[in-house]
């Protein structure tokens, strides 16, 4: 590349990077990509990168006259890459294309390759969240451990280290109060956790609940075709580590799936909570009375 291009491209690249970071943060789209603890970093990095770009732009002529000594004190050391055609190819295009065309949620292909867990232990830190909501658990329940969803369980019916012990004196009712329509609002993770914990499942069972998740057809454990899954993805640090978990929903024959509900579309289900024994273990299943498409929640990948 000619010298003019090599002096102009670095600030352009930095401006693009800074602009993308600032855009994603200020537009709120960053919520779909990063855990809250990392989001402020993006804003700060966007500001600093933009400042770096402006510095390079403003001092461009000055640096052209600078003769760097061995100490390199003018800071104008350019790597060979900067003058290579690979430089704009790698630093401008991938980020630009991905930022322009990305959606804010994963599709069905991601679930197929990653594997969807139907067990609360797949959600990092779930037990900790419950400890906050249910103080009685804080004294007895261990932190949830996590299973690799692709791995078969050695003996699903046997109690394992992943299963929290029985807890007495659970006062979940104080924390999941019914709304005006008589439904308690629960998360997919709440019910998966409750399925593992007998005291909690006793509290939830037969309650009318409202659950929101992404619609997925149930390809297994669906003998008469009346079931589907509500899927949620939970991230630990960023979307790349998101773990999909799913809750089974069973609908009556006279309750059709509305036309607006599509694969991975956000869906609200209202129905009764049950914990039947399936394949040797308690499984959370919602017997649906109402199914409708809804807008995505503000935080799509946080518990």
């Amino acid at each position: 590349m000619n010298p003019k291009a090599t002096s102009v491209l670095p600030p352009i690249v930095l401006l693009e990077w800074g602009g993308v970071l600032l855009y994603f943060h200020l537009s709120g789209r960053i919520n779909a990509f990063l855990h809250p603890s990392f989001r402020l970093n993006v804003l700060l990095a966007g500001i600093v990168l933009s400042l770096c770009a402006l510095t390079l732009l403003v001092t461009r002529k000055q640096s052209a006259m600078c003769e760097c000594g061995p100490a390199g004190n003018c800071g104008d050391r350019r790597a060979p890459l900067v003058s290579s055609w690979l430089f704009p190819l790698m630093l401008l295009l991938p980020l630009g294309i991905a930022a322009s065309f990305t959606r804010d949620s994963f599709g069905a292909n991601f679930l197929a390759t990653r594997g969807v867990a139907d067990h609360a232990s797949a959600i990092p830190g779930l037990a900790e969240k419950f400890k906050k909501n249910l103080p009685s658990l804080a004294q007895t329940a261990p932190a949830a451990q996590i299973i690799e969803p692709g791995l078969p369980e050695a003996n699903p019916s046997a109690p394992t280290g992943n299963n929290p012990p029985a807890v007495e004196d659970v006062n979940a009712e104080n924390f999941f109060k019914p709304d005006a329509s008589g439904n308690i609002k629960v998360n997919v993770g709440d019910l998966l956790y409750a399925a593992q914990e007998p005291s909690l499942s006793a509290t939830f069972v037969n309650k009318s609940a409202e659950v929101v998740g992404q619609f997925m057809p149930a390809k297994t454990n669906n003998p008469d075709g009346s079931r589907f899954k509500l899927v949620r993805l939970f991230m630990t640090c960023c979307a790349a580590d998101a773990q999909p978990v799913s809750l089974l929903v069973e609908r009556a024959a006279d309750l059709p799936i509305p036309a607006g509900v599509s694969e991975m579309g956000w869906t609200k289900v209202v129905g009764d909570i049950t914990f039947p024994l399936e394949n040797g273990r308690a499984t959370a299943i919602i017997r649906a009375r109402k199914i409708e498409p809804v807008s995505p929640p503000e935080e799509t990948m946080l518990y």
Binding site: P94, N109, A127
Partner: protein
């Protein structure tokens, strides 16, 4: 379901999220690198390190506690330190150790393994990282500088520290006279920002490449088909998680959260994942090309891959 299934939208979310998570830490590293370049005299490094090579390597392995960097951010810092004349063996030791032996990673490891004996996991992770980094630092002493560093980096190195470890004596009259010229604070800060910008661009090139590869692996490879057969055998589990660490190219500040997910894998495999990943992965392999000769980088990758695995397996078999 095929073992490989690519989808652009899934890829782009994964790619951007890895970048968004890593860029601030990378920027922090390059800013520090710029400040080191503008404000740290070459003599300071010489004063800080013990004269004995073994002690210098040991101290370098622990510097991360005071100069905490993630594995992306440490590369421009080490490159800058090498330019300033830091001896290669301690520099390599710091490069390998600091992404793990630092307070941020200690906290994240402890938090991630809550409920899985976090103190033991944390202690073994730090210990293994220190041992591996120091051992490799000692191995580096056996190489000639020209076999390790890129020619341009070697040419830019300050000869001030050449008297350490039996190398040629100082011939730095020109540099001494340059050091006497003290630019103003403003111009030094400006120079630091310019240096940081160019360092960022250099390293970001490889970060993009590594993030793209990691995103493909994260979204296109079927985990069930690839992972299930690997978990039941100690050797296979350890080296397969090492391979996963290499492919995923995760940041050391967050990799423990991923490692904690592999409950079915033995502790040795999880430790190998958390010790090797911050030292050598796809992204780092490419980034090391900014400092090291290709042959040395390949040697480093192979010996770390084998060595970390062996040490983790040995540790797991000697523990009760």
């Amino acid at each position: 379901m095929d073992w490989f299934s690519f989808n652009f939208h899934d890829f782009s979310i994964s790619f951007l999220s890895i970048l968004f998570e890593a860029v601030p830490y990378l920027l922090l590293g390059t800013l520090l690198s710029g400040l080191i370049d503008a404000f740290l005299p070459a003599q300071a490094l010489e004063r800080w390190l013990p004269r004995s090579p073994a002690l210098a390597i040991g101290v370098a392995g622990l510097i991360g506690f005071f100069l905490p960097m993630c594995e992306c951010g440490v590369i421009p810092v080490v490159r800058r330190m090498l330019r300033k004349g830091l001896p290669i063996a301690p520099a390599v030791t710091y490069l390998l150790a600091s992404p793990i032996i630092n307070p941020v990673v200690a906290l994240s490891t402890y938090a991630a393994f809550r409920g899985q004996d976090p103190a033991t996991v944390l202690a073994f992770r730090m210990l293994l990282a220190f041992v591996i980094a120091c051992l490799f630092g000692a191995v580096v002493l056996q190489f000639r500088k020209s076999e390790i560093l890129l020619p341009d980096l070697l040419a830019q190195r300050s000869p001030r520290m050449g008297n350490l470890f039996g190398n040629a004596p100082v011939e730095a009259a020109t540099l001494e006279s340059l050091d006497e010229i003290r630019p103003s604070l403003g111009s030094r800060l400006l120079a630091a920002l310019r240096t940081a910008s160019y360092d960022f661009l250099d390293v970001a090139f490889y970060l993009v490449l590594g993030s793209m590869l990691a995103a493909v692996f994260n979204t296109a490879i079927n985990r069930e088909q690839v992972i299930v057969p690997l978990a039941s055998n100690l050797w296979l589990a350890t080296y397969s998680l090492e391979g996963l660490a290499v492919l995923l190219s995760l940041c050391s500040t967050s990799d423990a959260f991923i490692a904690a997910n592999f409950v079915a894998f033995p502790l040795a495999a999880k430790l190998a994942f958390m010790v090797l990943g911050p030292m050598m992965d796809v992204k780092l392999f490419l980034m090391y090309g900014l400092i090291f000769q290709k042959r040395f980088t390949i040697f480093m990758a192979a010996s770390l891959f084998i060595g970390v695995g062996l040490l983790c397996i040995f540790l797991s078999q000697t523990l009760p």
